[in-house]
Symmetry: C2
Subunit: 423 residues, 2 copies
């Protein structure tokens, strides 16, 4: 029986697995992930800002796949691949494949300034989100107890680096916290005086979107109280400040809370793949794939999701977003089915249903290609599309419920400072 090994249970890997699960007996699937759950990353910023709990946006992989008896799940980390004998290597042993689907994703990159990580965490994992939640809420606590005005203001200043969707969403959510949720909670500080600064190296926010929408997004952010600085290149981050350059001048912001939403780099498995197959990697280390998502000359290895660099006829590579990964996952499964049946497959083609980014309460931008819009309806669309794509039915109900509640009350109940108690 044809054995498919999938590495990574994100959107790409999980959608491939589910599709292959439906094939029943003609194929056997092993899904390997270092975590025991699928994470709905588009809502992770809500965990980071106390609106949702990690359990609300995570689905246990075993629970999602339990009814597919041809699928096994292994919770482990793949640290090597041997193409010569079609084997992936885990700590606990080895697994051989007939077809390998690599969907191991990406993590943050600090562009060679890894020392910044300590002061400016990124938002990729549940632990990242809880770390950010800790820092954000601890900052207000520290401000409440600050001994001087300058110390207080440094704790009440939040800097977000990178104005892609994650940076914009985080900025909007922190603004809502400071200017609505927390206004009555403190006695020594006025949270309405919080400074939220969004730094972006490009000349506009949400660079992947159409220009008009970038303008609208920036105006919405400013209405929420976020200060936006474009063409701002961060040159240093320390425990108590961020330094950036803009038009040849250098600026320093006194702050204790910097959140990183700027760069990313591929999973180390892409380097392994390069060593084994000579595959080409792009600047971020993503694997440049053939039109059928396979590694050139290695038809039995498919790379999907954020780890794949897929260039359709010289266009710019597809972005690392959930809809791309889902479609790649389904395509990979169909490709394998066709191969088993001896059928040909067409090249992968991404059907772009549009882009959406949320900014804050009632504010979002939508770019559906044929139409662009913003404001309440874009926000409404964003909320419902995100809830609809949550993997499990119970997550959907829970998040819908929690969201409606948070919307009406403007509360954020999950604002626990956990982990190490002092920060």
């Amino acid at each position: 029986m044809h054995h498919v090994v999938i590495v990574g249970g994100g959107f790409g890997g999980l959608y491939a697995a589910k599709q292959l699960g439906r094939l029943g007996r003609s194929v056997r699937v092993t899904l390997i992930d270092k975590r025991n759950f699928h994470l709905f990353q588009p809502l992770l910023y809500q965990v980071a800002t106390g609106g949702l709990s990690p359990g609300d946006i995570a689905s246990p992989l075993r629970a999602v796949l339990r009814h597919y008896s041809n699928i096994s799940v292994i919770q482990s980390e793949v640290f090597d691949i041997r193409v010569s004998d079609k084997t992936v290597v885990l700590k606990e042993g080895e697994v051989t494949y007939d077809t390998l689907i690599l969907s191991a994703g990406v993590s943050h990159s600090y562009f060679g300034n890894e020392q910044w990580q300590k002061y400016a965490p990124g938002l990729k994992t549940v632990e990242d989100a809880l770390d950010i939640r800790h820092r954000v809420f601890q900052a207000f606590e520290k401000a409440e107890q600050a001994k001087s005005d300058s110390e207080r203001m440094a704790w009440m200043t939040f800097v977000l680096v990178g104005a892609g969707p994650t940076g914009v969403e985080l900025a909007g959510a922190v603004a809502e916290l400071a200017f609505a949720t927390l206004v009555k909670d403190f006695r020594n500080i006025d949270t309405k005086k919080t400074k939220i600064i969004l730094l972006e190296g490009a000349d506009r926010v949400l660079p992947p979107f159409a220009e008009g929408l970038s303008d609208k997004a920036q105006k919405s952010l400013e209405r929420l109280g976020v200060q936006v600085q474009t063409k701002a290149m961060v040159t240093d981050i320390q425990a108590d400040c961020v330094v950036y350059k803009k038009e040849d001048a250098e600026y320093t912001i006194a702050t204790h809370t910097v959140l990183w939403a700027a760069g990313m780099k591929a999973s180390p498995l892409s380097a392994v793949l390069k060593r084994e197959t000579g595959a080409e990697l792009d600047r971020q280390g993503r694997v440049v794939v053939a039109p059928d998502l396979s590694v050139p000359q290695y038809a039995d290895i498919l790379v999907i999701g954020d780890l794949a660099c897929y260039q359709h006829q010289g266009e710019r590579p597809l972005p690392g977003v959930a809809p791309v990964a889902m479609q790649m996952g389904r395509y990979a499964a169909c490709l394998i089915r066709n191969r088993i049946k001896g059928h040909k497959s067409k090249p992968f083609r991404y059907v772009d249903k549009g882009s959406l980014a949320v900014i804050g309460r009632n504010a979002a931008v939508a770019d559906l290609g044929f139409i662009k819009f913003s404001g309440f309806f874009a926000w409404f669309a964003w909320v419902f599309i995100h809830i609809a794509y949550l993997i499990e039915y119970d997550n959907r109900l829970l998040v819908l419920f929690q969201w409606a509640w948070n919307y009406v009350t403007r509360k954020r109940g999950a604002r626990l400072i956990t982990g190490k108690v002092d920060g």
Copy 2:
């Protein structure tokens, strides 16, 4: 204005604060807690077993108290008290009081075997619950990948030390996991073969309850698949086994997962209080209080909740449970109000509305004094009483919703393995 400092935002401290908050301008209150949230401890075992998320049972202290303008919250840890100038000492500075309410609670005790802590975590904090959740779900993952039968069985064996309410609840919840929730999730192991062993030093489970109910609880546990060993004294815990003595014989259980629900010791602040006031401490380090909950000879220091040892006319001390702490908190607030008004107060009297302990789905025991019952109705009462006492309305709705969903589907969606990824 009379200044009340409350140390600890558990049931005792929070109920005292809310009551004092209603007095408005006649009193000023400062609540100090090292955490920024109140934790609904009676449901913590649900977090430890993946049924609820920490956010569901935590309420931000500032949010709960925001409408009382006479209450300030400080997130910090009190590490010293100076009675001579009525001062509590924090890392960040000092706070003086007119009346001090000490409700700093208790933590686990390993009866001098602190080296067991590493292998057998207790269940007091959110971090404890996530640690236990990690261990329990990781154990099944390890069993799935085990190389030998003995290794597999050691991962599929769970030992709970202590058959008080927490031990019984955890045992029942792990049994539900193994024998219902997870049965279809694994390919190499049959979770129905899981061993769950509850060790209790006394001669029956739930020692504080009436004997007939202990029998019923034990039978319910056995029906759920839990092996109960009473009169079993644990003599050693290691990474791969638990050793216990029973009737002069010694037994060793091969296991990697031991959960501790046996002993407790008072907050270190009770020792500080002894040094400062000469207060008497009981064996667990709790402060023996006067009939009005004050420290003898120090009318301006009240000790409430689990930290207080209150003996009513030679009866045995009140147990460290939420209803006692709540009533003590309200009493302390009324005492202070009466003093300010120059009125006398009656001694504290605990109104025992009964004890309830849940064992598992549809199974609980209830001892209301005048009536004892068990089974479905006790379980139903337990669920609704616990939900009703959740501090915030949104927690109540969420937990009710999540609970109903878990009940119908037998799912436990919050079973994330988080923290350090390998265990």
